[in-house]
Amino acid sequence: MLRGLTGSVPGHPVRVRQAIMRTPAGILAEAEDAERLLAGAVGDAVRESRDAAYDGYSKTSYGAQGGDDSGGFFAGGGSQQGSQGGGGKSYQDESLRPLTIKQILDAEEPYSGAEFKVDGTPITQITFVGQVRSINPQQTNLTIRVDDGTGQIDVKKWIDADKQGDAEPGFEIDSHIRVWGRLKSFSNKRHVGAHVIRPVTDFNEVNYHLLEATYVHLVNTQGPAGAGGNANGDSMFVDGGDGFNAGAGGAQLPSKLSGCSAAAKKVYSYLNDTPGGNDGMHLSNITGGTGMGMREVITAADELLGQGLIYTTVDDETWAILDY
């Protein structure tokens, strides 16, 4: 063990070799010494690799460096460092949620200072895309009003006085930006403490963000995609995603039904499975065939009509599947 150390502790080979020639007590003391040196060397290596990882974070704008960007210590940033030694906040609570500004404004705050929840899930880091409405440079921060068409919110970006050009926003009024940060509440007014703000150069990212926010919202409210056979949660696509269901066992219903209620699915599959000519199926046949109540069927049919999956035929209570 000690022999091996000569190589692995660069800069201290002499000391370790000395230890081998000493008295037992001396060897013990020196061995402890060597062990400490070794631990130090390993520690350096770990610290180095961790620093490298943090460089990566700041490049990918994950915001792990938020501690020095937002000018204050916060529990989340601390726990990321702390997680090296285990402890602090649970790692899986650290998430990056894509949200619309309306969701941010609607986020529940059970009591003042509590963590915010969206769709019943605590939010830590958030990201959103919007248009800059105003830029207000202040002594220590830039206050930017952002609007994404669903609402407006103030974003504060702390200025690092040591960084050249940090006070320059890097974008103009009315341009689109993406923001990463944390939701804060200060005297009953909400703002986002930004870690990173960057201009959006491709407008498709705006649409992409809205899709992603909806996707996460649906996963959190209706369960993950593909769960339960045909509730594939991909209902945000107007029509697509048919291939998605191919693997899900026993799912013969088209994926356009994925956003519908169970009752609507039942009515749809009854219409689908019952041969009945081109005139569709009357309300009384459906109630008889499915065992559902009249009102239930009407609600389900309304839902399917709204989705454009069925249409009324001879009267308002006779429906057929809309195929195209």
Binding site: G149, G151, F203, N204
Partner: protein, 108 residues
């Protein structure tokens, strides 16, 4: 929140339902004539431009404005968003925002 105001994303098909309201519409600029423009957003929409509108023919534009009774839009803010915009995606997203109003549209 007092000043919470949403400008719903729409396409030409939704104009009827939003007369008198402020909306967001994204379309491809097909005509520019003085203070008027037409854009294609799943259908043709006439935009009455304001003085600081700088749109380019053939590019996509995002217009925020008020829907007039004749279904033209009086622009409050216009922005050229370039040529590489997926218009199918835009109208799909507009439809999506009406399907999931709970996270996109505040009624006020």
């Amino acid at each position: 929140m007092a000043e919470q105001m949403s400008t719903p994303r729409i396409t030409a098909a939704y104009l009827d339902n939003f007369v008198g309201r402020t909306v967001t519409i994204v379309g491809k600029v097909t005509q520019l004539r003085g203070d008027q423009a037409t854009i294609d957003a799943d259908g043709v929409v006439t935009i009455l431009l304001n003085r600081d509108s700088h749109l380019a023919n053939g590019n996509a534009a995002q217009v925020i404005g008020k829907v007039n009774p004749d279904l033209s839009i009086k622009a409050l803010s216009t922005r050229d968003v370039g040529s590489g915009v997926d218009m199918t995606l835009c109208s799909a997203v507009a439809e999506l925002t009406h399907r999931h109003k709970e996270i996109f549209i505040s009624e006020n």
